[in-house]
């Protein structure tokens, strides 16, 4: 995936400090020395290429009522992997679900409004997936040190002074 220097500068800006303005793409153009039209064309192109998923408010989970979350690992027989992953993906409260190269080969995160709701969802996933309890690790959060999904698009030497 080729990103030219202007794409990189634009990605860094829209990721780190998107201007909340009625004409945000014009403001971005002003910040980056690009015409508004070019900002919009580049963003549309990055979006078509799948680099940008969307431009949106990223909500703090606690502020929308999420109080209880966990990470679950499972040992899933290879031939059942896609079937089990599909069952897990059905749940709206599952945000991430990955195959990982470990003995525990399926890892997913679940977040619910309460400990009770989380327990019920996990119990249902256990029953529906038919993975025995001894093949499952339930690893609830004790404390969060960081949640900040942002990336560096500019070489570090051009990126100094940025508050991150």
């Amino acid at each position: 995936m080729h990103l030219d220097p202007r794409d990189r500068a634009l990605l860094q800006q829209v990721q780190d400090a998107f201007p909340l303005d009625p004409r945000p793409y014009r403001v971005l153009g002003g910040m980056l020395g690009m015409p508004e039209r070019e900002v919009m064309e580049r963003l549309a192109d990055l979006s078509r290429r799948g680099v940008i998923k969307h431009i949106a408010p990223i909500l703090e989970p606690r502020s929308v009522g999420i109080r209880s979350s966990t990470l679950v690992a499972m040992r899933v027989p290879e031939e059942r992997m896609h079937e089990v992953a599909a069952v897990i993906n059905e749940y709206d409260s599952v945000s991430h679900n990955y195959r990982r190269d470990d003995d525990y080969n399926l890892w997913f995160t679940v977040a619910e409004a309460s400990d009770e709701a989380l327990f019920e969802t996990l119990d249902e996933i256990r029953r529906r997936s038919m993975i025995p309890p001894g093949e499952i690790l339930n690893l609830p959060v004790v404390q969060r040190f960081k949640l900040d999904v942002r990336f560096r698009f500019l070489p570090e030497e051009e990126d100094d002074g940025r508050d991150r």
């Binding site: 945000s95 195959r99 690893l139 969060r144």
Partner: protein, 162 residues
């Protein structure tokens, strides 16, 4: 957060348009001005309801093909220091303390790193280990993504839906 704030978040959480005035349709629907829409979003950001307003990037499409979760086993009396230190690394996007399962699973600290490739993962994890003294860890590289989406969503807005 009032009913209008919830409507604004509900209407924008799946993405605003790439058009001259991307907040215009939200403003019209809620019968408020575009300035009020962005003003409320700014306020929600300051209040911490919105962590940030910005772009959700697909790291795999942006050259960061290797997503590694690292499970660390660290002494309980050092976890706060080590967790704080790891959280400061720009390569670390997530850092959590989690419960262990005595006798089955000893790892109590988890970090996620987005890297270019496996070699980059090993290099960055090695650097974190040296910087913090955390030497007992397990690297879990993702080899297939089944689902990835934000964990906080407004599921339904009162008022103008339905």
């Amino acid at each position: 957060m009032d009913a209008i704030d919830r409507e604004i978040l509900w209407l924008t959480q799946d993405g605003i348009g790439i058009e001259d005035r991307p907040f215009l349709h939200v403003a019209r629907r809620l019968k408020i001005s575009e300035e009020e829409v962005v003003g409320r979003l700014r306020r929600l950001e300051r209040a911490g309801v919105v962590r940030r307003f910005g772009t959700r990037i697909n790291p795999r499409k942006a050259g960061l093909a290797a997503n590694a979760m690292v499970a660390w086993s660290v002494a309980p009396d050092r976890i706060a220091d080590i967790g704080t230190a790891m959280a400061e690394s720009p390569d670390v996007t997530h850092c959590y303390e989690r419960r262990t399962i005595p006798g089955r699973w000893k790892y109590n600290l988890y970090t996620v790193l987005h890297c270019h490739d496996r070699e980059d993962v090993l290099h960055k994890v090695g650097a974190l280990s040296r910087a913090t003294g955390a030497a007992d860890y397990r690297i879990l590289i993702s080899t297939e993504e089944f689902k990835r989406r934000p964990s906080g969503r407004i599921e339904a807005a009162p008022g103008c839906r339905q």
